[in-house]
Amino acid sequence: MISAAQIPIFIVIVPFLAAFLISIAGLFKEKYCQPLSVLAMSVSLYAAVATLIHVINHGVIHYHLGGWPPPIGIEYVIDHLNAMVLVIVSFVGFIVSIYSKKSVEQELPDKIPQFYTLYNLLVTGLLGITITGDAFNLYVLLEITALTTYALIAVGRGRAALSGFNYLIMGTIGASFYLLGVGHLYIMTGSLNMADLHQLLPSLYGSGAIFIAFLLILIGVWLKMAFFPMHGWLPNAYTYAPSSTSCLVAPLMTKVSVYVMIRIMFSVFSPKFTFQEFSFHEIVVWLAVVAIVGGSLFALTQKDFKKMLTYLIIAEVGYMVGGVWLANHNGIMGAVLHILNDSMMTLCMFLVVGIIVYKTKGHHFDNLGSLYKKMPFTMAAFTIGALSMIGVPPTAGFFSKWYLILGAIDANQWEFLVALIFSSLVNVVLFFRIIEFAYYPSFSNQHGDAHGSEKIDEAPASMLVPLLIVAAGLLVIGVFTGKIVTYIIQYTIPNGL
């Protein structure tokens, strides 16, 4: 009875319904929460993959919610770009929902139903942001993701509550700026639908209000993705969050925000406005350069594995924002490809951190001692992830960096090229230092009972299998980069660039 045209709605609605079922199921039997969550995520992933295949074969899908045509109602618009992001989000959601079982049981033993309810709502929010074609609907979903993230971060240990509060303040400012920008667009045009705005706006380019609207939306989105001058909230928030939270939030939050930025720049406004009327793109690339260099340098000074990774996230945001604002084909292709690669690399790294926290109760460098002997599979996956972060050829990270470098050369923005190479060199130092720490026993127990602790002590299968899948995925994406570019990425370049 359900026709194939209804498939896109299942991507969002299944995790959404599951959230309430989980909260009710949690009142009766807590052990059903995690399997329900996995089930919902797998249905969502299946629907997302089916949609992606449909988009590749037949082009853009429009889905009218409530049967109302836009701009009267809300519509879903799925093109190559967001079909790909949908698959990434639902894949990460699926992987982490399997992985989280042991980790949540250890860190939040009495709040399991609430955790999985919010988990499903968070994934729903991210999927909804990606799929929607309505500027205001995006705001509502932005707030769902924000509220769930504040709570999921704040239940961590130590400074988590304070970091969560700072994130709340910054996140609310970001969302309010976005809402204000949409209000400016609405007062000037009378529409909220993205495609409709794209039609109406060109006659208003040059108006001060439109310029301010663009600026407000950009600043709002930059706050959400922790782009350079507005990155202060991110490191503490992600470091003190529970491992399952950071595994889900760290790979997705910044990438979905980058997606929103691309959507606003090219689908609501146009490349002509963004790069000619606005004419700030060289400054933005410079900001990205500062983000990359600064993020890498701060990462060097850290003595904590997880905190180091959070600074690398800031550097990676610089990659993507810089790539988009290079304003040429290779730059944008590199940035879009990096959304895919970086979410997989970050996921891989945070999964490793989660396992280390599960086994050694900490993420400081001291906790890494002789891990290569204790957990060979985990550390093998870590090595693949590290090589990809550095950008060594067969892994995925190399290819997006290659496109970004080509884009920098095309745009004559040599500073961006230098920053990319500098950051790769810093990554080499960072990850080889960690490999060294993990190869030898740590200093603190070198003299004591070092011999007893060197037996293989691998993580449980429910954590290890997802990690190995992701690590293998990094290699697979690397090998099939050519296919991904021909079938998906090259369609994401806006018309009229």
Binding site: I2, I13, L17, S23, L27, Q114, L118, A213
Partner: protein, 251 residues
């Protein structure tokens, strides 16, 4: 820090002020916002949905998808507060206790007035929910008022008195059920072969209803769902905030 803050605030103010120069004059009937999309809602609402309050018809039907997520924002907040604050075991004591902790004597006048007034508040809330089609109001306002009547009970007696009427489990259950009503009506439309939240196909299962009336009933259904969810979550947030998540005597 203060100087940077002031500079940021003033640059924001100047930017927004600069933007207002291009705005159409305030309350201008010829502004784009009044001409582009909104006339459709005003002209067609009676014909298409049989609801005379345009805000309700846009809220629950034309942009019903927004409203579903808006309700789930509240639900999210409720679960988030429970996740952050709720303490299930007695053993973890706080290091720092609130500064005002003297216990007030129960006041007979307040308690009697509350006893008399609460049923009327609840009756009014039900009226607001049911009459949202034709007058200001609807699920949100009604749900908040319903929740407020329980909060009034908790303030004038104590939290235990409220929890005797609506326990924690029942509360969370109601919150989930309210949202399941909303999204379930949407999913029912998909099962009947139309797009999500397209209430007009409900005429297949509602006896003697035309497609337009089916929309009207669909709107009423989701408003009831919203009201239940909002009431339950308001109670949950208050209960957690006022007792530090311990669900003891409250304020």
């Amino acid at each position: 820090m203060k100087a940077i803050g002031l500079i940021t605030v003033f640059s924001l103010g100047m930017a927004l002020f600069y933007a207002t120069i291009d705005f159409p004059p305030w309350a201008d009937p010829q502004s784009p916002a009044s001409l582009h999309v909104s006339p459709h809602y005003i002209q067609e609402t009676m014909k298409e949905t049989d609801v005379s309050n345009v805000v309700t018809s846009v809220l629950a039907d034309y942009r019903g998808f927004d409203t579903m997520f808006e309700t789930s924002v509240i639900f999210t907040a409720g679960i988030a507060v429970i996740l952050i604050l709720r303490k299930y075991s007695k053993k973890e004591d706080e290091k720092f206790l609130p500064e005002v902790s003297e216990e007030a004597e129960p006041d007979i006048i307040i308690q009697t007035v509350t006893r008399i007034i609460v049923p009327f508040i609840q009756l009014f809330a039900l009226y607001v929910i049911a009459h949202g089609h034709h007058s200001p109001g609807g699920g949100f306002q009604g749900g908040v008022i319903l929740g407020a009547s329980f909060i009034l009970l908790a303030i004038s007696f104590n939290l235990k008195a409220m929890l005797r009427r609506i326990s924690e489990r029942k509360d969370i259950l109601l919150g989930g059920i309210g949202l399941l009503i909303y999204s379930g009506i949407g999913a029912l439309c998909v099962l009947l072969g139309a797009n999500f939240l397209n209430y007009k196909v409900l005429h297949l299962i509602i006896p003697e209803a035309s497609q337009v009336e089916a929309r009207s009933y669909g709107i009423l259904g989701v408003e009831i769902g919203v009201a239940i969810a909002v009431m339950a979550i308001m109670i949950a947030i208050y209960a957690n905030l006022s007792s530090d998540g311990k669900y003891d005597k409250g304020l």
